[in-house]
């Protein structure tokens, strides 16, 4: 241990015996601890929500999508399908057939604009009466006032030729499932079997795009790069992260803004450290002069106070991290903050502690504490030792 650290440690431990220094040191440590705890809890709260949103993204979005560079359908869908099937870790490969239309009840009540798309038939139980099954979004169900078992009419925006001219394509479907969504989700959509979607879209063969799901969604980036190398020009490959890029960006921005805002508490706490260290510099002015007379370099005096700042920072940060992590874990485990499930799709506020974020907060708090000590440490290094010794009689 260098003598600078030795002195800093002794100053810190001895400061407990001097009421005014002890008070300011305690305020510095507590201030920093509160700031760090607030930041850890805030980030855990955001991470809790964002983890669930990202999980939903990974569940609801295809992990890799191949789209045509131009036009509305793939030039060689079979080649695209084979390229996707050849990817490692592929769970399913499905063509995409989608379009827009109107949805109404069988009796023809006011139609609702709707987006339809195909879905693999696995999840949809086939109705016994030959009417194609459909999964309806909660928003559409609520607007039409229908429930599971209802028969609906889907009117496509496309037309087909008939002896009397072009007429809209209409298909009857039976609602076999209503997809629960947030009350804030207003888009009306309906998922139907591929054959039904092809009929509505007037697309007998081919596909507008191909979608693949992977065993590991995190491998989507690598899969997309592999795929882009295997396919000729004229195709675009997108991952689920790219498809949700605006939302991902919004989530990252939200976290960055919260970090910057709550981190101000740490910055304010650091101002206490400035006054704490400055007080110690003034109080120990004579000691500094003596150390210089013994051969200490001015830089060593600065180091003593930087170490002190670091020690105060370390104690405050450790306390703050401990409180923040424990509080976040307990708040999550005991579901301490309930939520209306019909609005938020979850019963309580989730808290998720990410080690990487805790490390980030720790480093930020430590660096801030040390930075706070820089100014008084510089003052210590500029001290005129002769004056310090002369005036301190």
């Amino acid at each position: 241990m260098s003598y600078e650290v030795f002195i800093a440690l002794r100053y810190l431990s001895a400061s407990r015996k001097r009421a005014h220094v002890a008070l300011i040191s305690t305020i510095s440590v507590l201030g920093l601890g509160v700031g760090v705890a607030a930041l850890v809890i805030s980030l855990a709260l955001l991470s809790g929500f964002q983890d669930r949103i990202r999980a939903q993204m990974a569940i609801r979005s295809p992990h890799v999508v191949v789209l045509p560079e131009r036009g509305d359908r793939l030039a060689d869908p079979e080649r695209v399908r084979q390229a996707l099937v050849a990817l490692p870790g592929v769970l399913s490969v499905e063509p995409l057939v989608e379009g827009r239309g109107w949805l109404s009840t069988e009796s023809g009540r006011t139609p609702v604009p709707v987006r339809y798309r195909n879905v693999s038939e696995g999840p949809l139980r086939l109705a016994g009466d030959g009417v194609p099954p459909a999964r309806l979004s909660a928003a559409a169900a609520s607007r039409l006032g229908v429930a599971t078992g209802s028969v609906l009419r889907v009117l496509s925006s496309r037309t087909r030729l008939s002896p009397i001219g072009p007429i809209p394509i209409a298909v009857l479907v039976r609602v076999v499932e209503i997809r629960r969504g947030s009350a804030l989700e207003k888009a009306a959509d309906i998922e139907v079997p591929e054959a039904t979607a092809r009929m509505l879209g007037g697309l007998a063969t081919g596909a507008q795009a191909y979608e693949a799901r992977l065993a590991d969604p995190e491998a989507a980036g690598l899969a997309a790069r592999t795929l882009a190398g295997r396919l000729p020009a004229g195709y675009r490959v997108r991952t689920w992260r790219e498809l949700n890029a605006p939302l991902s960006f919004a989530l990252r921005l939200e976290k960055a803004v919260i970090f910057a805002t709550v981190a101000l508490v740490i910055v304010v706490a650091a101002l206490n450290i400035v006054s704490n260290i400055a007080l110690l510099v003034v109080e120990k002015k004579r000691d500094l002069g003596v150390l210089i007379s013994l051969g200490a370099r001015p830089g060593s005096l600065a180091k003593i106070y930087l170490v002190l700042g670091g020690l105060i920072g370390a104690v405050g940060t450790a306390a703050g991290v401990a409180v923040g992590v424990v509080a976040s874990v307990l708040l999550d485990r005991f579901r301490a903050v309930p939520l209306p499930p019909d609005v938020y799709l979850m019963t309580h506020v989730p808290f998720a502690v990410h080690p990487r974020e805790v490390v980030l907060v720790t480093l930020f708090a430590l660096m801030t504490a040390i930075a706070a000590a820089v100014l008084p440490a510089k003052a210590a290094s500029r001290l005129a030792p002769g004056e310090a010794v002369r005036l301190s009689r």
């Binding site: 003598y3 003596v290 210089i292 013994l294 051969g295 200490a296 001015p298 030792p385 002769g386 301190s392």
Partner: protein
């Protein structure tokens, strides 16, 4: 050979009012091995002179050489190392670091020099034994008497075996008995170690026991009438 060669030193402090000139064009030389006393009225700059000679303060003009090294010409790091190795300071008030034990205080010059803590403490313990404070080595300064505090301060000043000891009224704050003990110790160590010692004192009895006496006034510094003027007088 000269231990100290100071030429044309001037020093002015910027006070709250008008600047205060402590001295100007002061020159002073001292051969190696001399135990010199500096006497003079308060305020003539005796302490300031010691600070300039020890390199902990800078003169406005002039130059100071200690053992041939021009202090003002040394870069800060070298100057600090020179002070650590070659110059010892004893102040009127012991100026021990209150949070540290006697042994830790005496070990500081070694720690600053980069010695490992254990070795520094071993050497400090030896020196404390030499000044008769072996049993008090684990005591903090406030648990020591004034005389003991000053003996610890002397041990600290001599820790690195300096060639020059600058003592600024080391007995000025002690009772007569303690002052005698401390001065006796300084004398012994001076002879024992072959140092050059500059002692600022107001005590004529103690000054008379030094090899030479310098009188300092507003006009400058000069050997006292009848003093040997820097030529060493062996005991």
């Amino acid at each position: 050979m000269l231990a100290i060669k100071a030429e044309n030193l001037s020093k002015t402090y910027a006070g709250e009012g008008a600047p205060v000139t402590v001295f100007s064009n002061l020159s002073f030389e001292l051969p190696v091995g001399v135990f010199a006393a500096v006497m003079g009225p308060s305020g003539v700059g005796k302490s300031t002179l010691l600070h300039l000679l020890g390199g902990i303060d800078n003169a406005d003009t002039g130059r100071v050489e200690v053992f041939g090294a021009l202090l003002g010409g040394l870069p800060p790091r070298e100057r600090a190392r020179f002070r650590n190795d070659r110059i010892g300071f004893v102040f009127q008030f012991h100026h021990l670091l209150p949070e540290f034990t006697a042994e830790e205080n005496v070990a500081f010059p070694h720690r600053i020099a980069g010695l490992p803590a254990a070795e520094a403490r071993r050497r400090a313990a030896e020196l404390l034994e030499r000044v008769g404070l072996r049993e008090r080595r684990d005591h903090r300064p406030r648990a020591l008497s004034g005389g003991e505090q000053q003996r610890v301060a002397i041990a600290r000043a001599l820790a690195r075996g300096p060639g020059l000891l600058l003592a600024d009224e080391p007995t000025g704050n002690l009772d007569a008995d303690s002052a005698g003990t401390v001065f006796g110790l300084l004398e012994e160590l001076h002879r024992e170690r072959g140092m050059t010692t500059v002692l600022v004192t107001h005590n004529p009895d103690l000054a008379s026991r030094c090899d030479t006496i310098y009188l300092m006034s507003r006009e400058g510094i000069a050997p006292a009438p009848g003093s040997s003027g820097g030529n060493r007088t062996d005991p």
